[in-house]
Symmetry: C2
């Protein structure tokens, strides 16, 4: 009898709940909890309509350790899927340790007061999870998550040694908004405004945000996009797991309009995370901005196009240089039809379900705190294909412009 | 013994107080009041240092009729100079009527809830002022104000009939901010975001904000600027006072960067004047934006360059077509040296002082509510020349591009 508790009823939590409900033979009992109970109920109604399954809903303030512990004690789930904001990761890991619950998340801890992210806060819990025979799987979304699995799958089957990694995240989707972020605007803007870091030789080097960019031609005729190098958390765990890497970079596509909006909002101070005194109230400008921007969840219905996320790997196999590109493309429209959310949430929520499935099946289970590349990638790659995120491999380097034919 | 009360200790109120203090033979006793007493005290200190004169300072909430009446009863000024926000005009006119005080302002009434401005709210008080033998002078700044005087001066001396008027307001100043408004950001953004209206034939016609623009070559080598047609309040009184006008337009210069910032902020909803519910508090996005933008008053020290504001008039004199251009140029740096404020405040505050001077001297005094063009322009034009805003007349049309020599 497997019981799971999903915390977070935004786009990703909603997708994961839908996907888990599609597999009642694995997920026998599903609980969904959020600060806002009405959001859980909307997801439950959608699941009932789409799959005929019932899930339970609960209110919880995931910032409050005692509330989280009380809910876990009450439900005794085998696994907590933390799909709330990354601010809550440490509280929820503590709650899992206190109650003997396994743990999974999709994004690493961030402090509300400091932009920038690193795994050290969560890796610190490794010994405690190990001692209690509990497993914590970190970053089981798409990027991080599937990108880690792609890398370890390529390393296992295509290379004797990998030396370069480029992760490329293209959102070719369009909606009717002049400015809208793909996911939680606060987290998104914090992430993309941070200084860029990439792995060069044997260390991370820093460069200004948005200072390095290039054109990228997506496969399957999705078109050309301008991609910008930025820091992303899987670079930290992957460069540690694959020490042969001499360069590792993360790239994300942004439209000229998105960048113009971000630049202006930053110029005037609206993206600042430092509270200001507004008529006696302390208000964080970025949080106020978030409150007036479109809720990414509301854009699912109007978003068209595809995402295209993948890894370019270069290295050697049997002493020959080799380059491959592993990627997934995902349609916003079909994601919305299946789960009520667009592809950005879909591509994160499906790997969360797969990670949870493999943990419950004990295929991916080892006491301690682990990133995705720790476990065997083959079974995860099979599940990606089976559960909506099929992938392709090209034996070529998309960063090298093909000659005109 | 002339006593005046200046309400408003922002840039304009500060300039007017400095200029009045330079004329102790006219302004025997000067009181300065504001919601924020510390701003009054800063102005008083600057006046003491620059002119050796003393002024009195007071705290008043100009939105509160009873507070305003109490202050007027206490001080018994001959004249109230309303240099606060245009939201307060009606309250302060009521307070003047209740206490038998003459009234002057520089910008017409606006309701906080509705963008857009018209004189009807204030013209409505004409009979009451007339009956009490009080004079209210509306719009005694630069535009409106000096632009009205320029128009009536040109009409009196240069034309038998004027048929076209173009008012052109160029701010050729620069500062180190990526986005800063010339004056109160809330009022400025409301004004420039409103739909454009201009007089065509015998009526106002509307067009979208920023939809009509052209290049304008400033005199005295100040350079070329892109000017945008927009609505401005003096068009209402001038087309009524000069019914021969077949076209009347107002133009203002904006930099590409200013427009880009304004567009983005409007796109995301930050320029909205409709309150939103933010964690249970009602907050007007534009007012929140104002609170994080630079205080225009703080930019005086770093602003360089000139303003150039004037009127292009076309019509007939002795049956010949005639075009003239009357303008003033004003240096941000010298304005700051003299009064601690840059030219945008200076060009508004000096005409406020001149209007007050002429009212106290009974040169411009008639019971009722009047716009500037009601009074004889010659004496005002003389004072402009004497008190820091000298003007020039060119017998040419700057809208007609000169042929290359």
């Amino acid at each position: 009898m497997n019981t799971i508790l999903i915390v977070g009823a935004g786009g990703v939590g909603g997708v994961a709940a839908h996907k888990c409900a599609q597999l009642p033979e694995i997920f026998h009992e599903i609980h969904l909890a959020s600060r806002t109970l009405s959001k859980c109920r909307l997801v439950a109604t959608s699941i009932r309509q789409r799959t005929g399954q019932e899930i339970s809903t609960h209110r919880v303030d995931a910032d409050n350790l005692n509330e989280a512990i009380a809910l876990l004690r009450n439900l005794s789930p085998d696994l907590l899927l933390n799909l709330a904001l990354p601010y809550q990761n440490l509280t929820l890991m503590e709650a899992c340790l206190a109650t003997g619950t396994n743990y999974l998340d999709t994004a690493n801890y961030e402090s509300p007061e400091t932009a920038g992210f690193e795994y050290k806060w969560q890796w610190r819990y490794h010994e405690e999870f190990r001692e209690k025979n509990l497993c914590a799987l970190l970053g089981s979304g798409f990027d991080p998550g599937v990108t880690n699995v792609f890398t370890s799958y390529a390393s296992k089957h295509y290379f004797d040694e990998i030396s370069e990694l480029d992760i490329v995240d293209v959102n070719g989707g369009e909606n009717n908004e002049s400015f809208a972020t793909n996911f939680n605007p606060e987290i998104n803007i914090r992430e993309v405004s941070a200084a860029c870091r990439h792995w060069e030789g044997d260390r991370f080097v820093e460069s200004p945000a948005f200072s390095t960019h290039r054109s990228f031609s997506c496969p399957e005729g999705l078109g050309d996009f301008e991609i910008y190098r930025m820091y992303h958390e899987e670079l930290e765990s992957l460069t540690a797991a694959f020490p042969s890497l001499r360069r590792a970079q993360f790239w994300m596509s942004f439209s000229p309009s998105y960048l113009q909006h971000l630049k202006v909002l930053t110029n005037v101070g609206m993206t600042s995370i430092h509270p200001i005194d507004y008529h006696g109230e302390l208000i964080v400008p970025l949080q106020f901005l978030k409150s007036i921007l479109p809720d990414p969840g509301s854009l699912g219905e109007s978003t068209t196009g595809q995402t295209c996320i993948g890894c370019v790997l270069r290295g050697r196999k049997e002493n020959q240089p080799r380059s491959i590109y592993i990627y997934n493309t995902c349609s916003h429209e079909s994601s919305f039809r299946e789960t009520g959310s667009q592809a950005v949430s879909y591509t994160t929520g499906v790997p969360a379900m797969i990670g949870a499935k493999l943990m419950l099946q004990k295929k991916w289970f080892e006491a301690g705190v682990w990133n995705m590349e720790h476990f065997d990638p083959d079974t995860f790659m099979e599940d990606l294909d089976s559960f909506g995120l099929s992938w392709s491999i090209e034996e070529s380097d998309p960063f090298v412009r093909k000659a005109c034919s």
